[in-house]
Symmetry: C4
Subunit: 195 residues, 4 copies
């Protein structure tokens, strides 16, 4: 089965998700700078989610770069990931419009958590299909980022009821952790191509 259509379809869905989030920035009625002020939390949560979706697209790109064949299981694990990503515009808007209130901040983290789990399942499905010589398994190594992130998300969900700003800070922290594109897969790929 071709991986190109899976990539094209995922690119399409991720491109739409990243773009429709901006529709939540409702055009204000006033014409003064002050009219933009109530939009600030929505704008900040938009930036955060834009970066998260960018990270997912980036990692998705890397993951499938080290994948040759696509099976039915991989297709559905990928759709499962896209499902959770598709909820980002909703949770982003809910959190932003309510100025990072506890419950919206917790639900935002819960969807981040589920997307991380879905990403992990997709990764394991590909590795299982690639077998013992899995290029992807070699590339991700111990995957400490992939294992730490869901733990931090859960922590952020719980701490949202103490102080949602702790949660927001954790979301920013995890994003920064991933923001630097992962050199592991590139390194392994380059190494294997030389062999």
């Amino acid at each position: 089965m071709q991986k190109s259509r899976l990539e094209a379809f995922s690119d399409g869905v991720i491109a739409i998700i990243i773009t429709i989030m901006v529709l939540e920035l409702k055009v204000p009625h006033g014409v003064e700078l002050a009219a933009l002020k109530p939009l600030l939390p929505v704008f900040l949560s938009y930036i955060l989610s834009f970066i998260y979706v960018g990270i997912y697209w980036n990692n998705h790109h890397h993951m499938f770069h080290s994948t040759r064949h696509v099976t039915g299981g991989i297709l559905w694990a990928n759709l499962h990931l896209l499902f959770w990503l598709s909820l980002f515009p909703f949770t982003t808007a809910w959190m932003g419009e309510n100025h990072f209130a506890p419950m919206p901040a917790a639900i935002y983290g819960f969807v981040l958590f589920m997307a991380a789990i879905a990403y992990y399942i997709l990764q394991r499905t590909i590795i299982a299909h690639q077998g013992p010589d899995s290029l992807l398994a070699a590339a991700i190594g111990k995957d400490w980022k992939g294992k730490l992130s869901p733990v931090l998300y859960l922590l952020a969900v719980a701490l949202a009821f103490v102080n949602p700003w702790i949660s927001s800070s954790l979301y920013v922290l995890v994003a920064l952790m991933w923001l630097i594109p992962d050199p592991r897969i590139e390194r392994v790929l380059v190494k294997r191509e030389r062999e």
Copy 2:
């Protein structure tokens, strides 16, 4: 004629359909978990339709994988399928927002039925074009799933006026039936490539 543009265009349309459905999850005004409760039926119908669109994309992928050439007839049969799929966001929202009331549940099934018919027409158009040695015809075999589904949809439409939950259960049942990616086409393709 190239099939790549037909695939790219279909991927684009399907990616947009699957993503705009989420816009029906209107951001609630409250900030408690209870504020999400009225969204539950909308969310459930979103999950169901997401899976259906995923199934169509998956099968579309398989179908065109065993297709070499694209004719004008195939182009229009494909657009006809996309037309019915494009109505999914509408019927999903109508059914979800009205808590699976009889008429919306029936119309939801009617559009599923029409999409199934459109898929069938597209399949027959490709097979007719491929001639007696049709790879697709060999791959789908007796196509009992393709023949059973429209019957179950019609049944669900009728039973919606008895109890719409029977209809919903039938929609879930048909989705489960298709959820497992069809190994037939893969098997035949693999077999032919070996010959």
Copy 3:
């Protein structure tokens, strides 16, 4: 310059145009079949515009299939066409929501007319670039459909103020005229490939 990105971008824009038109089918509040009745004119105009966008995508597909190189002029002529196509959702909704009133029906035709002119300009730009041996010029021949359509659109615009149903009938007529995919380009391409 590569034509693949121009095709991919155009496919994306056309896929979005064809899909966002369906957002004008606002989910009704009632749950009876009667609740769908006011949507009927919107639905009919959606079908008409869906077919028109399908025709444009189809013809665009054929046109670029007989095009090798893309120049700056072709890029902008293409964007100009996409601009007019992007107004289809607006004119479709205005006409549909006002039950084919004279002015909306006339404006609908005017945008169809401008899209036809933009298509014609794009076609001439490609032919001019291809020079005297233009494959596209040979393929379209006398292009009577391309020349007749804008005349019929203008006629429909004028007649909208007499009776908008005459205009609507003309729009349906032109769509039917194009619906059959144009065998001319395919024929010439096949012929040339044999030579």
Copy 4:
């Protein structure tokens, strides 16, 4: 790393941005030509932004045409550009709906300015990666357009508080300056291919 997915993803995002701007053309309730009159400033700002997005897509196309490899830095510089472009629908609508009032006209220019800076950063990132023989560096040469544009945007932002029509005229002027597709990269590419 493949550049094809970066191009496909960017095409998707840009296609969606250019198309959702048209959603701000809200369908009027009236059916007379006068009902369209209040939409005129929204329509004019739509045309302006459509051309700007077209220019960005066009230049993006050229820039990556002279790029072979994509690094993590290039990916993120590209996402940064897409972020600022994604704000165009918002600033376009705010400016259009408020008839080019000073603050919306200034913010419109500010986002244009940030997009220009993001484009410049992306360009420098690619050139730094390509090294001393950079094809892109040779192609853009002194890049006076790229350097003049942000200056004119800043000027327009400041002058918006004197008279927003001066700003609008400057936006139109910069657009016209870019509208002619840049022959520099094409020329250098053609030259190098001949060598």
